[in-house]
């Protein structure tokens, strides 16, 4: 489904040059759950950003369903973000002035909402168990609740691939476990997930763990008997 070929990303020039990704290749099949691990600065988040088109590659290719997306313009990327790839961030990145339901509704609004859209958003909110908090603003929600809103927002357009950047990084273990079980659920529904984490506990949920160091893949571990 998704293929990363010899991806490299360089920030800055000359003395300030930083190689964030160095010739990284990765294959993600339909329904895969890949965890990306590595020390901070190893290029984990950069990898996630270039896959989703939030950042540009310096070299290499990203191919989604047979089409390159690393060289797409903004308008074409908008189409990718509306239904193919969705994001979940460590900082949740909810719009602070909108309620939970409005945040979930937002992607539907941008790709042309209709009468049923609000109901759909409500239904998704139910899936993540937050229908009673629909009218609350992010500031009135706990971290775990905010992340569940963010996950609801990510899946409302039914994407085939979810990119999650340390989604449980700001949470205690119990809340994190709840969020992870949500991801497990999404994965069993056949959605591909690439999750950046530095917690081995979290990585245990993945089918494959990719270890990054200094922008290079240094190890891959397949987990057959995952949780």
């Amino acid at each position: 489904m998704l293929e990363v070929k010899n991806a490299s990303k360089v920030y800055g020039e000359g003395d300030t040059k930083v190689v964030a990704l160095n010739n990284v290749s990765l294959q993600v099949n339909k329904g895969d759950f890949i965890a990306v691990m590595g020390p901070s600065g190893s290029g984990k988040s950069t990898l996630l950003n270039v896959i989703g088109g939030l950042d540009r590659l310096s070299g290499g290719e990203v191919v989604l369903d047979g089409k390159r997306l690393d060289n797409l313009d903004e308008n074409a990327l908008v189409e990718i973000r509306r239904g193919k790839i969705a994001y979940v961030f460590q900082q949740y990145h909810l719009l602070p002035s909108l309620t939970a339901i409005e945040n979930v509704f937002l992607p539907l609004l941008f790709c042309g909402a209709n009468r049923e859209s609000l109901d759909k958003a409500m239904g998704i909110l139910k899936v993540v168990g937050l229908e009673k908090r629909a009218k609350h603003k992010p500031s009135q929600l706990s971290g775990g609740e905010q992340q569940r809103v963010a996950i609801a927002r990510a899946i409302v357009n039914n994407p085939s691939l979810i990119l999650a950047d340390e989604p449980t990084g700001n949470m205690d273990q119990k809340t994190g476990a709840e969020i992870l079980s949500l991801f497990d659920q999404l994965n069993t529904q056949g959605r591909g997930i690439i999750m950046v984490t530095h917690s081995p506990e979290v990585a245990k949920h993945a089918r494959e763990i990719v270890f990054l160091k200094d922008g290079q893949i240094v190890d891959r571990v397949e987990q057959k008997g995952r949780i």
């Binding site: 950003n49 908008v78 992607p107 859209s117």
Partner: protein
């Protein structure tokens, strides 16, 4: 729910921030509306004054100088012609003056329009002092000399009354009720004028018939003042017409006063407009600044919207909706504040001016506010969509 509905809801929740962004617009619109309202009030006042001092004409006897020569010897000039205008010519003069004004202004009524004030000047001795006694038609003279103010007593009412210039009263030590005589006729001092700074201060005014009888000048006048009481009146045309059609008189258009005042007002108008323009530019810069800041603060929000599938156009649209609302709020409050400022400051600038609010400035204020708000929002919002989403998360 549509995008604009969401924007509207969003704005209602961020009232404080939105009002803060609108504040710059309020101040800019307030200043422009205030200045324009005051300027309009001032204009109205000056127009009213101009109407009073308005265009006018003076008709005098036609006198010409003839050079006297005897061979090569010059004997100086001799003034020839009548020194008086027969009263019989007054109706003719009125007909010409009113006719021309009717034609110029498209008036159909047959009533008298111009004020026609005949005068008779006689140089004579009063209480042993030689001075100019002026015979006037009391009502007409009052209409023309709008600046006359009675210092003491009252204005001419009876035929045997006299009105004294301020200096005349002082020099001759005359008071209300004193009797003066000239060439055997008597008159009671009815009133004394306030100082005008003109030759009026040194004259004595009596009803014209009284003077005509006293000096045997029945049926003649020395000069005629015509006041049209309008700015658009064709004084030059009236003057030409009188000169062509009536013999023995010479009509002069006295426009200088009006022209000077008009010129001054034009200068003032330009100054006010320049002031309003400068304010607008400065205000616009302030607005651009606050709006840009408010967009800049939301670069992260813009990144989030893009990450969940917003196109550039949708983001610019959302911010434009917001700008329009801010513009409407700012424009309305700016108009109200500007009008209030005009009510407060206007009377100080133009003494005793009645400032009135001008409804036409509300749409002007709104248009201006919306335009400035949209321009200063759309550009930074567009800029924000050109940065990479991952970078917009990092900002702030």
């Amino acid at each position: 729910m549509k995008l604009y509905q969401l924007v509207f809801k969003d704005i209602l929740r961020r009232k404080k921030r939105v009002l803060y962004a609108a504040l710059g617009i309020v101040i800019a619109a307030m200043t422009v509306v205030g200045i324009l309202t005051i300027a309009t009030a001032g204009q109205a006042k000056i127009y009213a004054q101009l109407e009073k001092y308005g265009a006018n004409l003076s008709v005098v006897p036609a006198i010409s100088n003839v050079d006297m020569t005897l061979g090569d010897l010059s004997l100086g000039a001799l003034t020839v012609g009548e020194n008086y205008i027969p009263e019989a010519k007054l109706p003719e003069i009125r007909q010409i003056a009113d006719g021309e004004i009717r034609e110029a202004l498209g008036i159909k009524d047959d009533v008298d329009i111009a004020t026609i004030a005949p005068k008779l000047y006689v140089n004579t001795k009063v209480k042993g002092t030689s001075l100019l006694v002026v015979g006037v038609e009391p009502k007409e003279e009052r209409t023309i000399k709008t600046w006359w103010k009675i210092q003491e007593g009252k204005y001419l009412e009876e035929r045997d009354q006299a009105l004294l210039g301020a200096q005349t009263a002082q020099l001759l030590k005359l008071n209300i009720g004193d009797r003066i005589s000239f060439n055997g006729s008597d008159a009671t001092v009815a009133g004394i004028l306030e100082e005008t700074g003109s030759s009026d201060d040194y004259q004595v005014f009596v009803p014209i018939q009284t003077l005509q009888t006293a000096f045997g000048k029945e049926g003649v006048v020395s000069s005629i003042d015509i006041r049209a009481l309008c700015n658009a009146c064709p004084v030059e045309i009236i003057a030409d017409s009188i000169n062509q059609n009536i013999t023995g008189v010479r009509a002069l258009a006295v426009k200088q006063v009006a022209e000077t005042e008009m010129g001054m007002m034009e200068k003032m108008n330009k100054f006010m407009l320049a002031l309003a323009g400068i304010t607008l530019v400065i205000g616009a810069f302030g607005v651009v600044n606050t709006m840009m800041t408010s967009v800049h603060e939301r670069i992260k929000d813009i990144g989030i919207m893009r990450a969940v599938g917003a196109s550039r156009r949708q983001i610019i649209k959302a911010f434009t909706y917001e700008a329009v609302i801010i513009g409407i709020v700012g424009g309305i409050f700016g108009y109200m504040a500007g009008t209030l400022v005009a009510y407060g400051v206007g009377p100080l600038v133009f003494e005793g001016t009645d400032v009135s609010y001008i409804p036409q400035y509300l749409p002007l204020s709104l248009l201006l506010a919306i335009f400035v708000a949209v321009v200063s929002t759309a550009y930074p919002a567009f800029r924000a969509t050109t940065i990479k989403v991952s970078d917009s998360f990092r900002s702030l």
